[in-house]
Subunit: 342 residues, 4 copies
């Protein structure tokens, strides 16, 4: 914490600030400047609330210096985390591809899609049983019945199951039948739910909220980890901006930022991130090129009949072509790393 | 729904679109234009998913025309809703003021604040027992003990209690001890929680999410109402933008928009909406001037010692002055309405 | 400037930073902390570019402390500036109202509107002769002919003329025939134009850019003032956000922020700020209530026939009612100030 | 244009709308629906201003259907434009790399950088002589002297010169000495300047404004082309959002959207788009993977001493590695296209 005093701050204003710092159990360091005095605070373990200082007489600004997270940080764990999800891993050398329909509509549709995904070589299967829909009148998913169908998909195809839970009942079902619990963008700051999944022993796929800063995303992960579940995979799925040519704006610069600050893996979701079929493959390529650890992709045997988000789902043919393209890019990126490190 | 065909769309493309419309049980109306054909869809009761059309051959765009909500709409109920909250009302002629500390810290702090609020003439008291905090290491509130203290405040001062719930347990406690269940901005699209409060019989204060559009806010209210609880009060508390001089950007144009589209009342929260003590009173004045049905204001007997959001809390003296100012403005606005209508 | 070192920064990393600080002519102050060292920089007159430090080995962050502006600052001039515009003033006790059509379409339309404005008691008349239009195919304004018509309005009605210039030729015309040169939102960072108007001797109405931070707005004013023209009036006209119920999002919290940091007056533009007729009056009331020094309002004798932005223009009747309402609010706010100061 | 009537609109409301449509010279088509009537408008060549209808009695909404641009459109020119810039081309099969320092500081620095760029195989050299700086007290560039030095670089190294102009004098200088006139993000809607460069015969690199929608970017290009200069290259350089981990948020989904709607080439600027050295190479890879026609990259022989934007400039070594990496990705993308088309 750095406290910047106003140009006209009095000696007693400065004294008062130093007193408050001491009361909080920290040390204050006065730095007299040309025009104004600044006071550095040391001795704090975590972040200090600027509110303690902002309204004191003579204070111009209180600036945070220490970052407020611990468990996600590379300071704590310098090597990258490789998260085990069922029989696969996310965060290691191999690109993780999670694919499947937006919503589970029927056993038929689910198995038809799983057949395609399985042949593509992907190790992870997605499919929504509990669907967060903006309107209460939209299709809300098949619920626990859907989750059980996903378990049957795993049985038959050996695919590891990633699916969303929206509340405690859902978490219990996914923990029982699935391999990875997805927390959706709208629940990224549903702190009660984060604590609840933090107590499970299944890995968590945490999607970035529509207007979440990087700090907020990392602190949401920290909520889960603080309860003892360290297996968190982050996901960039587009943020909300003024731009309207895509449903959301994919913020790919968050990938190198996450890799710099934390040991956690991060994947990208170009289906929700763009909302348009024709953008999914180019943005998937971009996500792999920027260094993401994986992709999550919507595939539907017949997108125009999909009950949910059909416009963005790839056909099986488009999906196979996407896998071919990103595999080439991933190899190019990996090769670059080897050469660059040499 | 209006479907716009590409300039080069063939007759069979148009046929296929008309077929899909018919399959869905609606009627299609072809409008040949100078450069391109458009197809209007009628016969639908609610909104149609554009996904059914966007990927069909020859389709340039599918534009929604019907709005996807019912219960919140003035079409359904032209007169404004006046919501009963304990012994008071929100949405009627009187300006509703909800005041109190951000978080309940102790019995002492709570009653000291309630004493001030009570004398100011406000009818509603706020105080957080369950606190949604960005960091897991920040003070998380006193929980059910806090809610019980609020019930004691009502007992002693006759103030009606408005307090936030973050999950089902919290909703149960607030339903039991409080008068109005607040759903915070971060839970505005926690659809499971919305359905749960929709089943209670206490009024709900629904805060707009940080990046929620007006449609999304109204549909969140629709979620609650669709479960049978029609007592929903909306709240504008600032949205997330690039601007950094305030913690959030208060979007006051949403007030006339809400009043135009829905019968529900809407209040404003200039404390969270700005995050700065010196901005709270000016923005409270603006909120009342724009036509809001009430205010929710943070007051703390000693803001610089507050455990949460201290920087924005008003002192008792500042709060009393705010009440005096907004009362004058409210009278001016009411008088205007009378004259304008005459 | 405060430089925060990484936890593992070496003594020689710190030495190197201190060296660079010295090379730049400043002084460095080392503050060893629990986990990391911070280095304060003093002796600088203006802002230091963080770029000098961010890439040095061992540096985690370089945080600006000194604000980069001078002439707009209350440190330089504590009392508020009252700007003379023709025979009127902006920034003093009286609320300034600038009203008129978006674009000048014809002599007839112009004088019909001026008649109304003049009778309302407003002292300032607006009307666009040079129109910045998003499309090259939209009506671009009457140019210098329009500016001359405005001079005739002043002649006949004694109204002071505020009109936009988009380039040097336009500035010359407005300087010659008008009373105040408006720089539009899209030109707020057209630095060549800012310097050019800084050399004129007419007051400048500087509109905030659609995505301008407060700092950028103040520095744009600083550009004008640095050339010797101190008569700058700021204008909030809405910012660009994700919200779509209004054309822009009016950011009223910028008014108290501007009044806190600078001596310059600031007005609000609810016509462009909302883009909807029915929102203009409520937001005008809010702007006056929050403490703005004036309003700029679009009025058209027949809005539905307007060649530009007709949807938002008020009819003469609506405008007269607006003036009546904001006058009451202004008096209420002024009275409050008197009582509050007593 | 589609006009949607309110549920309670009367027959005479509908008549009035049809009349206005006719007055404007178009044809109206009434579509009675279940709950409300819609009216389609045909016969218009360009876009119609919704303002003509929004305030008419009984009108709920007026929705634009026809897009307001012509020259940039694929409807007009289906094949992609390959723009000649000096002796090179942008928009063809080869990836265009434009590299060089942010600002020209000295002859020495310029030639040292050009030496590196030239060896890397790039065909285009950048370097700012006229610098748009947020603060009037920041280094403003060497002006025409700088532009002349760039001409010397071309002379010696055969590199084609891309450099920014901020006003007419600057355009004249760049047209005389350079190969491509850059219009910066802050001038994207400086319509006078757009018209001026539209009259030159040098290609224009048009950077997207910080809060420009895709439509606004395309219409800015349309401004230039409407004056007769068809050689426009678009550039995505990051937009302004709430996210603060990077200086701007790169919006890579705009690349496939531009390629779908227009025949113009588009390049990306990961240096300004991120503002952080460590993000430039990953985002350059992503830009090439998503399908951009080129890159513009800041390179400085000694970034920590740079007078402008040093934090983001690459060292010569980093730059050479970037070129190697993106070349591999470009080949992978090109190969994919060939296979996909086969």
């Amino acid at each position: 914490m750095l406290i910047v005093m106003k140009p006209g701050a009095s000696a007693s204003d400065i004294e008062r600030v130093l007193e408050v710092i001491e009361t909080l159990g920290f040390r204050g360091h006065t730095l007299p400047g040309e025009n104004r005095t600044a006071i550095g605070v040391t001795g704090n373990q975590g972040s200090i609330d600027p509110a303690h200082f902002e309204n004191l007489s003579g204070v111009a600004d209180a600036i945070r210096v220490t970052k407020p997270y611990k468990l996600i940080s590379k300071d704590l764990r310098p090597e990258k985390s490789v998260i085990k999800v069922g029989t696969g891993t996310i965060g290691g050398d191999e690109l993780a591809i999670i694919a499947g329909p937006c919503a589970i509509e029927s056993r038929e549709q689910l198995f038809a899609t799983a057949e395609v995904i399985s042949k593509s070589g992907a190790k992870f299967f997605r499919g929504g049983a509990y669907k967060p829909r903006t309107s209460p009148y939209a299709f809300q998913g098949l619920g626990e019945d859907g989750v059980k169908m996903l378990a049957d998909v795993r049985e038959q195809y050996g695919l590891n199951i990633v699916t969303e839970a929206m509340d405690e009942r859902g978490v219990d079902a996914v923990e029982k039948y699935g391999d990875c619990i997805q927390i959706g963008a709208r629940n990224m700051q549903n702190f009660s739910l984060l604590k609840y999944v933090g107590k499970t022993r299944k890995p968590v796929l945490l999607k970035r909220g529509l207007s979440a800063t990087l700090d907020e995303l990392l602190l949401a992960a920290e909520y889960i980890m603080a309860e003892g579940n360290y297996d968190v995979i982050l996901c960039e799925r587009g943020i909300r901006t003024f731009a309207s040519h895509a449903r959301n704006t994919m913020d790919l610069s968050v990938i190198p930022a996450v890799h710099r600050m934390t040991h956690l893996p991060i994947i990208v979701d170009p289906s929700h991130g763009t909302g348009h079929n024709y953008m999914v493959t180019p943005l998937a390529r971009a996500g792999v090129a920027v260094g993401a650890d994986g992709l999550i992709i919507e595939v539907h045997p017949n997108p125009e009949e999909a009950l949910c988000d059909g416009a963005q789902a790839l056909t099986p043919g488009q999906y196979s072509e996407l896998v071919r393209q990103v595999t080439v890019i991933r190899e190019a990126v990996a090769e670059e790393k080897t050469i660059a490190a040499a």
